[in-house]
Structures are given as C-alpha cells and as structure tokens.
Amino acid sequence: MEVQKTALYNYHKNLGAKFVPFAGYEMPIQYKDGIVKEHISTRTHAGFFDVSHMGQFFLEGDETLIQSLEKIIPADLKNLKVNHSKYSFLLNNEGGIIDDLIITRTEKGFCIILNAACKENDIKQISQFLNKDHKHLLNNDLSLIALQGPKSVEILEKLIPGVANLKFMTGSNFDYEGEKLYVTRSGYTGEDGFEISISNTKVEKLIDYLISNEVKPIGLGARDTLRLEAGLCLYGHDLNEKINPVEANLRWAIAKKRKEVGGFNGWEKIKNLLVNGSEKIRVGIKPDGKVIARENTKIFSLDNNEIGFVTSGTFGPSVNAPVAMGYVKSEFSEVGTSIQLEVRGKKYGGKISELPFYKKSYVK
C-alpha cells in the first residue's frame, strides 16, 4: 500500500519535522525542539497535534442505528445527548477490544473517532451490524487537529468565540472562514484542550493562527510521553483484541446501564469478569531508579516469579522519572506493591503506581 500523507504534510516538513511511518502514514515523530521540549511546552503553554490520520467516521440513521451500534459498543448510546462524547470500544465476541474510540452524538447520528491503524477493520466490524438504511462515511476531506495545554482555551476562544463554554467531552459546530467546523473539548494529554475537525482546505490557515500564538507543533514522540503520564492507553500496545475492558482496568468506560443489561459482544464473558475480577489487570508502574522499563519488559515478584509484562514505558518529562504501564496478575495490582523489572537481563526494583502519573486539569 502506498504511504499516505495528511493535508499538512508539507507544512510539517517546513516546520522541520522528522517523519516516521505510522499506521500507513508518514507522520512527524518530532520537530526541531525535540520530544522533551515539545512535551513541556504542551504542559505549560499549548501545543498542536496533527491527528488527521485518525478515522472520522460518520453514521446516520433512525432509532435502529442505536440498536445496531450498541451491539458492538458498550456505551449508553440511547441516552447520549447530542454533542456529548464518550470514550468506549468496539468489542469482539470474546469481549476483546477491537479498537478504543470516542463516539459523539450528532444531530443525525454519530461520529466515531477511530485509531488510524484500525480504522479499515473497524468499519468492516461496525458494518456487520448496520442495515441498508444506515448511511456511513469515513470522511477523508477533514483534518483533525488537537490543541492541548493550559493556554488552549484562551487562544482558541479569540479565533472561534464560544469554544470556552464547552465542557469536557462535549462539542459543537462553529463558523470559521465561511465554513462549519466541529470542536470538542477533549484530548489525549491530560491537559485541557480541544479537538478540531476542519476541512483540509482550511487547516493550514488554522495552524498559521496557532503558530502566531506560539503554539508549538508536537510530534508522535511527545504525544506518547504526554498520554502515558496521563495514564491513557495506546491501542496496539496497552490494548488489543485479546484484552477485555475489565483486564484493561477500563470498566468505568462500560456504561452502568449496559453493565446491568448487556446486549453487546462478549457480554457473557465481561459480566462474569465484572463479578469475579480478572486474572490480570492493567496497572501503572514506577521504576525505583532511572531505568526505563519499555514495552515487553518482564515483571517479576520479589520472590522472582514472573507476574506480568510492560506494555508502554518511557521517561516522563513532567514527572521527571521513568513511567510505565503493564499487566500484572491481579493479586499484585495493589498500589505500592514492590515488583522487579527485568531490563537487559538485570532485575531492577519498581512499584505499582496510581494512574495517572500526572494530574489532569480538565474543565468540567
């Protein structure tokens, strides 16, 4: 398959981006400042992220659309208000996570933001439950820009009046340059911020404005350190089709009503896990020293039994220490439990830690 590029590819190039192949796209891993500075400027001022590689999947239909989607998504879509968003999943028959997503109720149906690497398969999976009256579109004419950081609201409000009134996980249409764009208050960094769905033809103009307000471009490298400090999962690493939401410590993301009534893929299995707990569970991990426990690092108990593995690990610039997430046997999952991490054949001490590593400041 040919490598794809977002509408901002040349813009990134001019900003000095270093590109890497990611989910079939050439995406910036970092810019001139480097990962740590990009990370810090997002936490202290604001940064923008081109996440246009993610799928913006629109669905339209009558009441039966909700019934169809609820078979594969364990959110309470029936009671989701227009312009409200939920974090949820696509589940397979075993309750495994096919993808994690944000679903927003629109006037005519729903918009689902899908991971780039998963989006084609996701649409296949969703389509199995749709009928001929349900319309759907993966809109590639739209870019998606995340604006994240404490100054985001002040900066975006000047350009698009009204965005400051949005609450976390809600959105609205706004006028910009004679077009409609859709803004939600959400993100993937643990900071206040927005995700802006904007036509490919207008996106450069928006970025010009952000840069003139000293918003820095942020690559995938800092996106990863930011989301990991915020305790957020990365699909394909912390989540996959063999992991279910209970194991992923994301039972909060299954709607209360759906937990009681079920009616979605894998419900029997998940119902059982909700009552009895799972054998393994996702936890936060802090190495005692400076050693970085990266993905696939084996985790051992103090008496040297293998008890789990790391799924994401890096250095957290705001925590100023290494941070990691991984899966351990549930009896070792209590915060404060001492563990060992095997890095380059040597065992280093560490502890099960609370998530997030970095406290968020969402506007509720």
Binding site: G34, V36, K37, G221, K290, F315
Partner: protein, 126 residues
C-alpha cells in the same frame, strides 16, 4: 591528552598515556534526541573492541554504546548516570562515558580523525 579519534558507531576516544577516555559524539546525541538514561560500566570490567560497554536511552529508544578499543575499565562516569541530560549539553567534554586502560595502541591509531569522521557522517546520514 592526545587528539580525539572517532569510530563508525559514533564514539570518540582520547588517549592519556595508556588510559583512554570514551564518549559518544555530538552527532550521535543529535540523532538520539533527549537523553534520559545512561548506564556506565564498573571499574574492573574487561571490554573488547566494538563490544557493548554502556547503555544510552533517549525518549525514543535504548541504544548500546560500544567501546572502540579493548581494555579494562578504570572508571565509569557516574555524573552522567545521575544527570543523563548532561550528555546532550556536553557530549564531547565533561559527559564522557568511561575510561579504560588499553592493551593495544594500534586500535586507537586505526580509528578515524575528526575530518574523516565528519566526512563519514556526511556520507552516511541517518
């Protein structure tokens, strides 16, 4: 102290008598990005030419640091293990990785000069 010599794996070596000081080059730090972890060898460890001797990790990935010269480690630079970021600031000065007592000066002589190394980096961009 002798002039600095360079390896294809982006280490530098300087020689004072039979004790060599080894670090990674500025070019290497620019490729690695922000350095967040360093592990240096303990005194007494024997290292082979081009054998793994230390570890450097950036926010992106972990890399091995090889010794461009064989010998016995006399000292690892604990200061960079405590402050890994200092390797980005002064890679070819205070932020050396380790010192070792060398066995064969010929190994040092066969490394690249500064000019040869600069040319090598230009011809092998990564």
């Amino acid at each position: 102290m002798s002039e600095k010599k360079f390896s294809k794996k982006h280490e530098w070596v300087s020689l004072d008598g039979d004790v060599a000081t080894v670090g990674i080059t500025k070019h290497a730090t620019e490729m690695l990005g922000d350095i967040v972890f360093v592990e240096v060898p303990d005194a007494g460890k024997a290292v082979e030419k081009e054998g793994q001797a230390a570890v450097v990790e950036s926010t992106k990935a972990a890399s091995d640091v090889y010794s461009p010269i064989s010998g016995e480690i006399t000292e690892g630079n604990k200061a960079i293990a405590d402050d890994p970021g200092s390797v980005n600031t002064d890679p070819e000065g205070a932020s050396w990785f380790f010192k070792l007592k060398i066995k064969d000066k010929g190994e040092y002589d066969s490394l690249m000069s500064k000019d040869e190394y600069d040319k090598f980096c230009k011809e092998n961009p990564s």
